[in-house]
Symmetry: C2
């Protein structure tokens, strides 16, 4: 922070890039925003220093290098491009086998590949968890509602499932009700998984089960510079609609988009919001 | 087989009870069928020695005891009754705390509880895997289509996920495409999970991924007397619609309902059908 070199945000969609920008400015950091066209929200794109197509990799790298940033942060949502488009863009400086390996490796491998490409050009890739930890979930009861014993038990089961699934390229969230795993997140995302839990609850099979907990947290050993698990007010609404009693997130490894709005929504709908600590063996990069 | 005591089938829905009955008769066993009203198929109920409501537990136990069977087999699908109805039926000979524990324990615990109740009355509960192993999937390539290297890799990932999830009360099936876990089965069942995989494939996010494998097998340490993972011709149809390259099942731990029809359907639709062996550490009861 002694030097005036900016933090460069490589910004995709959602509210998070704007919130990170604001948090960094509050901390007195210089910030440059490279908004990815078609992904970044309009309000952010308006404030951005550059708006570039995601496949125009040459301009992206040239722009980032010209800014000579202290760190680059990948922030916001970006949908996976079609392999044909992506492979075409990478082909100029990567051989075909390596591209096929990156694309075939799933999202985890894809993002690791992007970080590697940035680092090979001398750029330092940073993470929100280090630059603005105030955006992450704290530990303990975060809202006005306290989980009961059954909720804690369900959260522990969910944590166990997510830890067991950590070595695999799969989602970061599960729904547990009465020790039963009701849904495991796949590429459909958390909101769609909660919609599924809602439908299951309505069907005869699960009508019997009351309450339930959404558990969302980073994988054990996950590189927290990419794909930080995230919740927000909309997650609370979806969880409430699914009839859940509350949400448990990994303390220090889960982003809360607009913390005060998220907590207010949970309080209003009678859901608890709990930050649970990683067990000792879990490391972070 | 020396004694003439019959095998008693406590029969729920689907084709399996009838297939097991036929297999046992082919083996020269005496068979008695207790069809659960509303669950057992009409063709089976017609051949049954008794048709009893699932909640009329007194008649069920009295009937089974009167038959003095060598073994009782739980076979076919039974939907979980509402806790109110179930608890009411059990209340006569179980205290409320124990019922609550059984009902709260999820399906795994529920079925274990039913076996325990039967065994406490001196009945021996057997399993299809011992009585008619010819109904289970064999090892190796079962149809005309052979999986390629990528398919084997996806099947191995799926096996890893299911092994990691074994301690939890969750489904027995996953879909893996290009090392990415596309869907994990919850209480919705395999066909509904495949419909989800199909929708994901159609959406922009996964259009990129070709092929993919349905992996279905018993949990590590699972009591194979209940809830044997099962596939059949309909599973093949659903997998084909989801754009999958094939199906991998646990050899010796997965039932194939109507093996010849299932293999014919897979051959016709160009899907491989693979029986994979459990790794050494996996035990069975």
């Amino acid at each position: 922070m002694a030097d005036g070199a900016p933090v460069a945000l490589l910004a995709g969609g959602g509210a998070l890039p704007g919130l990170l920008r604001a948090a960094l400015l509050r901390r007195g950091r210089a910030v440059r925003v490279l908004a990815l066209r078609g992904f970044a929200e309009w309000t952010l794109a308006r404030q951005a220093d550059a708006v570039i197509d995601i496949l125009d990799y040459k301009r992206i790298f040239a722009t980032l290098e010209a800014w000579a940033p202290a760190e680059v942060v990948l922030v916001g949502t970006v949908h996976r491009p079609k392999p044909s488009a992506f492979a075409g863009a990478l082909a100029a400086f990567r051989n075909r086998e390596e591209i096929a390996a990156i694309l075939g490796a799933g999202d985890d491998g894809l993002l690791a590949g992007v970080i590697r490409l940035l680092e090979e050009r001398g750029l330092v890739v940073g993470g929100i968890h280090r630059l603005a930890p105030e955006l992450l979930a704290g530990a303990g009861i975060l809202g006005a509602i306290a989980p009961d014993e059954q909720d804690h038990a369900a959260a522990a089961v969910g944590q166990g499932v997510l830890e067991a699934l950590s070595p695999f390229d799969v989602g970061q969230a599960v729904v547990v009700a009465a020790r039963r795993v009701v849904a495991v997140e796949g590429p459909e995302g958390t909101d769609a998984m909660l919609a599924r839990a809602r439908r299951l609850r309505r069907s005869s099979r699960l009508r019997a089960i009351h309450g339930g907990v959404l558990v969302k947290m980073a994988k054990v050993g996950q590189d927290l510079r990419v794909d930080l698990p995230t919740i927000g007010p909309r997650t609370v609404v979806c969880a409430a609609r699914a009839g859940l009693a509350g949400i448990a997130v990994g303390a220090g490894t889960t982003l809360i988009v607009d913390t005060s709005a998220t907590i207010a929504e949970a309080d209003r709908r009678g859901l608890f919001l709990l930050g649970i600590e990683r067990r000792p063996e879990g490391g972070e990069t």
